[in-house]
């Protein structure tokens, strides 16, 4: 059974038809990378999966559960999905440790000490051991984003959504964040990520989805998409993004 399954998902903002029938699956331990031009619907796709945006048609299944049903408890669904944002969105009034353990303590009912131990273990592992009691504003962008990733994975979500998590970072800091994502893949995390880092996408993705005009126009392994793209739009996009 797939962790995530999208079936003919549509989303409109007024007259703007952003998602035009998206079909997509993400299997367990799979890393699917979504690429495409700005405005192709990547971010909207992420937000519909997380139920921040309500779909206007179609269904989304999370481990077989239809999460687009009106009766579904959105908070319970969101608790099963980890999200990392482009701009980190850490809570500036909380220390790193409180940011990271918030969901465990308040949503999952984990004992505060247990959550704390687990958080410190993960922060240590990702080189943030000394930042546990700092406030986020004292951290560099790369450190903040790594904290945000730890926050998203602390409760072992079924699915991780990474929405252009390196786009707001200094090129010097991109590497440390992407290394962390590689670690997560090695551990078997199931991930759906949108990115503009093509070389990273090529190295980490099991499958690449090229979004164009609100639809996955071409899907394939990195070798297929980057080496032998079938659609003219894919070729044009890749030519533009690699030659700038």
């Amino acid at each position: 059974m797939s962790v995530l399954e999208l079936d003919n998902v549509h989303k409109l903002f007024g007259d703007n038809h952003v998602l035009r029938g998206v079909d997509l699956t993400v299997d367990e331990h799979e890393v699917v990378v979504v690429i495409g031009a700005s405005g192709s619907g990547k971010s909207t796709l992420m937000r519909t999966i997380n139920l921040i945006e309500r779909v206007d048609d179609g269904r989304i299944l999370l481990s077989g559960d239809d999460i687009t049903e009106p009766t579904v408890d959105v908070d319970k669904v969101r608790a099963r999905i980890g999200v990392v944002f482009q701009h980190f969105n850490l809570f500036p009034h909380m220390r790193v440790i409180d940011n990271v353990t918030l969901a465990a303590r308040k949503v999952h009912g984990t004992d505060a000490d247990v959550a704390r131990d687990r958080a410190i273990g993960l922060l240590d592992k990702f080189g943030l051991g000394e930042k546990v009691d700092d406030y986020p504003d004292r951290l560099s962008g790369g450190q903040q984003q790594r904290v945000a990733i730890v926050r998203a994975i602390l409760t072992d979500p079924e699915l991780l959504l990474l929405d252009e998590i390196t786009s707001a970072l200094d090129p010097m800091l991109v590497g440390e964040v992407l290394d962390l994502v590689r670690d997560l893949k090695a551990q078997g995390s199931t991930m759906l990520m949108a990115t503009h880092e093509m070389s990273f996408a090529a190295s980490v993705a099991d499958r690449i989805v090229f979004m164009h005009a609100g639809r996955p126009l071409e899907v394939g392994t990195p070798d297929q998409i980057f080496g032998d793209p079938q659609q003219p739009e894919t070729r044009e996009f890749l030519a533009r993004i690699t030659h700038r």
Binding site: R78, N89, P92, L102, V107, R138
Partner: protein, 288 residues
């Protein structure tokens, strides 16, 4: 370790030393100019008042040491009532104001009646003069049941709380709206409910943004509790009025006024300190 050693080894260059000297000279000059102009202005103002034809009489009527000494204990006793009223009103205002702000921030058609109620409340009580609210509450509520004997201090507390919870609700709402929407999205994405998001993420940040405005309202309330004297409560203002009636001298009002200023002073300094601490903790500030 190596970094620290490098810092210790560093000595400021002659260029930097010269700049520091120049800055010191410039700041010393600014302080002297400021000091001189302040003293000159104070002297001028003092001379203008003291040399006015009616000064003798004013000094007698408003600044009489004997009357001040006589009035002080009574006014102070009255001020204790103001402080108690202030204490309870602050609690009511904090709870009611937060509740109203949350009610007004609810989205979606389901919440329309609640939203409308909160909006109507804040519109009404922000518009009504405090004095009129005090009259309506202080004389209107007891008239509903002539048998009951509610103390005027309690009625005054209710009146003040009604007005100030409306002001505070608006300040809090502005603060909540100033918290970036991405914070809500991040909180909801973790699975936090709407109420948890407000309580743990939005309101703590909103409070930090509106601390100056809230403290301003608090200081304002601190002096408006003096208005409960119109209901007959013997507070600082009323006590001053009584002594004035006995002595035909206005000095007790000046005493009461100074006591109110003294009351607000620690709060004002505390606000500054709290804000400075928050600024240090959460961001690395520059010189501008």
């Amino acid at each position: 370790m190596t970094e620290r050693a490098a810092v210790e080894a560093w000595e400021p260059s002659s260029l930097e030393l010269e700049r520091r000297l120049a800055r010191k000279r410039a700041s010393r000059r600014s302080v002297l100019i400021a000091l001189f102009s302040t003293v000159a202005f104070a002297a001028l103002a003092w001379w203008a008042i003291v040399s006015s034809p009616g000064w003798e009489g004013v000094q007698q009527q408003f600044f009489s040491p004997e009357v001040a000494r006589k009035a002080f204990p009574k006014v102070l006793e009255g001020l204790w009532l103001n402080i108690r009223v202030l204490f309870f009103a602050t609690i009511v205002v904090a709870v009611l104001g937060t509740l109203l702000a949350v009610m007004r921030s609810l989205r979606g058609p389901v919440w329309f009646p609640v939203r409308a109620l909160a909006t109507g409340y804040t519109d009404l009580f922000r518009g009504l003069p405090v004095l009129i609210v005090l009259y309506l509450v202080g004389f209107g509520i007891p008239a509903l049941n002539p048998e009951s004997r509610i103390s005027v201090a309690v009625l005054g507390t209710v009146g003040i709380s009604l007005c100030y919870s409306a002001y505070v609700a608006e300040v809090l709402r502005a603060g909540m709206e100033a918290v970036h929407p991405s914070q809500r999205i991040a909180a909801r994405s973790l699975g936090l409910s709407h109420a948890q998001t407000l309580r743990l993420v939005v309101i703590p940040q909103a409070l930090r943004k509106v601390v100056p405005a809230l403290m301003n309202d608090f200081v304002s309330m601190q002096k408006d509790v003096g208005l409960i004297s119109v209901l007959g409560a013997v507070d600082a203002v009323r006590a001053a009025q009584i002594v004035t009636a006995q002595t035909y001298n206005f000095t007790p009002y000046v005493v009461a006024g100074l006591l109110f200023v003294a009351l607000s002073f620690p709060m004002i300094r505390l606000t500054d300190a709290v804000q400075a601490r928050m600024a240090r903790r959460e961001q690395i500030g520059g010189t501008v």
